[in-house]
Subunit: 317 residues, 3 copies
Amino acid sequence: MAGLVVAVALAYGANAAAQPTSAAPADKAATRAVHSTAIGAQAADARIRLTRVSPAYWRVTFASPPLNIVGPAEVRALVKIVEAIEASKEVKVVVFDSALPESFIAHYDLLKPLKDSTDMEPGPTGMHPVPDMMVRIARLPVVTISSIRGRATGIGSELILATDMRFASREKAILSQWEVGAGLVAGGGPMARLPRLVGRGRAMEILIASDDIDGDIAERYGYVNRALPDAELDGFVDAMARRIASFERSAIVETKKLVNVASLPPDAEMQPGWDAFIASVNRPETQLRLKALVDKGLQQPGEAEKNLGRATANYKP
Amino acid sequence: MAGLVVAVALAYGANAAAQPTSAAPADKAATRAVHSTAIGAQAADARIRLTRVSPAYWRVTFASPPLNIVGPAEVRALVKIVEAIEASKEVKVVVFDSALPESFIAHYDLLKPLKDSTDMEPGPTGMHPVPDMMVRIARLPVVTISSIRGRATGIGSELILATDMRFASREKAILSQWEVGAGLVAGGGPMARLPRLVGRGRAMEILIASDDIDGDIAERYGYVNRALPDAELDGFVDAMARRIASFERSAIVETKKLVNVASLPPDAEMQPGWDAFIASVNRPETQLRLKALVDKGLQQPGEAEKNLGRATANYKP
Amino acid sequence: MAGLVVAVALAYGANAAAQPTSAAPADKAATRAVHSTAIGAQAADARIRLTRVSPAYWRVTFASPPLNIVGPAEVRALVKIVEAIEASKEVKVVVFDSALPESFIAHYDLLKPLKDSTDMEPGPTGMHPVPDMMVRIARLPVVTISSIRGRATGIGSELILATDMRFASREKAILSQWEVGAGLVAGGGPMARLPRLVGRGRAMEILIASDDIDGDIAERYGYVNRALPDAELDGFVDAMARRIASFERSAIVETKKLVNVASLPPDAEMQPGWDAFIASVNRPETQLRLKALVDKGLQQPGEAEKNLGRATANYKP
């Protein structure tokens, strides 16, 4: 009954080493944090790569096989990258993409002890590092573009929603906020962002039906700017990034600042989502649901992660 | 000149019994109110049926031939249903649909004495029962889904806008806010809801050009989440409702609460619309327009109701 | 090196007569202002024509060959037209269109001395006449419809965004906010309006990638209500205008007033955009960019204006 142990571990801080079904064992996770904070390192095993294509054009690439799971270590690495972007006087545009064709970012790490998440020090906004990071990404004085191939679920969806623009592979992108399907409340701000982006009706569907959304529907809903044929996605985003990188930094910064006034949710809407997420993880009914999902193969390559919307359906307590 | 009598009756409280052209005579209307308050009754003649598919999944079905006209009696019945949903600790999802293939809800009853509407006691929000009901539907601690086949006009459109999600038959749905075309101002909140849902430009078109909108345009505009082939609509909505009904109630409730913060119009925007509606009905020019529409067959099965957008065009005083 | 003179002229008030490459020499510009203030004149050489199709249905037609450039004189003429609309008790609907198939409004006049713009007296809102005019157009107690064929860029896009609805030729409309590509910040309010209309992500793309948007994408993004086949555009808009003109003025006015509450950006968001625009024009780097664009043919008929999005790319300082 490894699954049960795993799921309970998440909530009650049981030793991560007791997680035999985890695809990313505890010792690897430590390594991961070290590698990912090596900002700019182009080493093949860097889990989150920061590439400076030029002083004005940077790329952040998620490269943490097999699923690009994001947990506390990855959040810390991302915060360091956010700080590097904030500190630069030259960068104008940052593209976020994935090195794994099947996964942009699968979702938050549910096999780590929950304490690892709740013990994190608040960020400069005073919020927990997850909502803090999301708010700071949205306010970066550069343009951020998500290039989405594979699954962007949970914190993956929340991250792309924090960036300024989103382009998706029509054939290979899968977006979702799967949390309600797993008995959870989403923690990284989509209740604040999605209704303002796609309208209340479609936001409710994405968040509460919490099913997989393909590239075509994502475009129709305005969840992404456009869905592009998979073969054109990389070229399209790269061309747009180079175009923007050739513009005046001050024009970009001032324009974005005024768009922010008209479109960013108040910071005060962000922390409640995180608090509701933590509360939801601790509910016994949710623990049972998560256990059932882990038994089905959650957080491992395979059918459950591939069709996560289907995996959350038909749960019987 | 029955039409004139009828139209004036609406504004000046003339006895409803003097309405020879009405498709729903006064004695029937009384019956209707009784039936529709029999919540949960599955009697074939219930005008608004509440069906508990399961403790978690309820359906509200408009079944008031020939047009699903909504007047004071239907509002009272709907309020009772809203109260039943508010009181339940088990229900998670409620689907609103129609038993009449041609009509979801045609529009507000314009053949009843206006006094029947204005004399209604305010609801718990302090507003008239129509805006009160719309506000309470939007805040229900369950997910509400409209499944739209046939005409959803005026209060029909306002009701689906108060629900959380909308799915429409691509071939058979007709949505509209027809009020301006009849000299009226819409009373159930669409000026507050539509601009936030579809943007100012498309909201202006829907509200002021006040023409019929088919399923295809409704989807393109974001007026509905999706338009589906008519043959797939019922199955799609039922599957989504069952999916949601299988989720944790607390996750649904808390997620919706946070979406509400980001997307519900302030209650203060609702009552002014109702007041403007009542004022508009009382204008002599509007009475003449309504009379002309009644002469054309308004509120009876036939061409005028089928193509209401056309019926409001080319009015000559 | 006329281009340099021209571009600097904009910022530093050099005599407009020193602009040999300008397609609209200074003496013509004076004439233009006179003609365009002749409201209602149907003279063939009127630069902005006001046509009263009927007391309820007016049209404003931009007819300033070759590009429909808008500068201080045109703004003054437009303000007079706005005042005429505000003063009328009969007009219900105003259509804005262009007599030039290639250009709705190309963009703001960048060859006039900047002082001509900055010296203008504030309007009744207390703001500079450009944001003042935009705010007043949006608040007009009539419905305004843009019928877009050819290029609507910069102030052309800002004007259509200030109107209530937008319909575009699918084949021949080109919309854009090109400013960031030219080192500028947009001055007429699109940072306030676009995010509320098309969502933050698509607004960021339009404003910061600042590339040409065709009719098809404009519709998909919600930048326009609909894109129509070019051959149907005029008939569609005219029919909608006649339809609205047949409705009750009070119903239109009150409905729009309530839509305004839910959808207009606060006036306070408008002036900062204009101030940022003026500041951006004065930056030396932007002057060099504008000079390079003028050298490429900016503000003259030809390749640069036709493919303005391309003209702003690949700038090398």
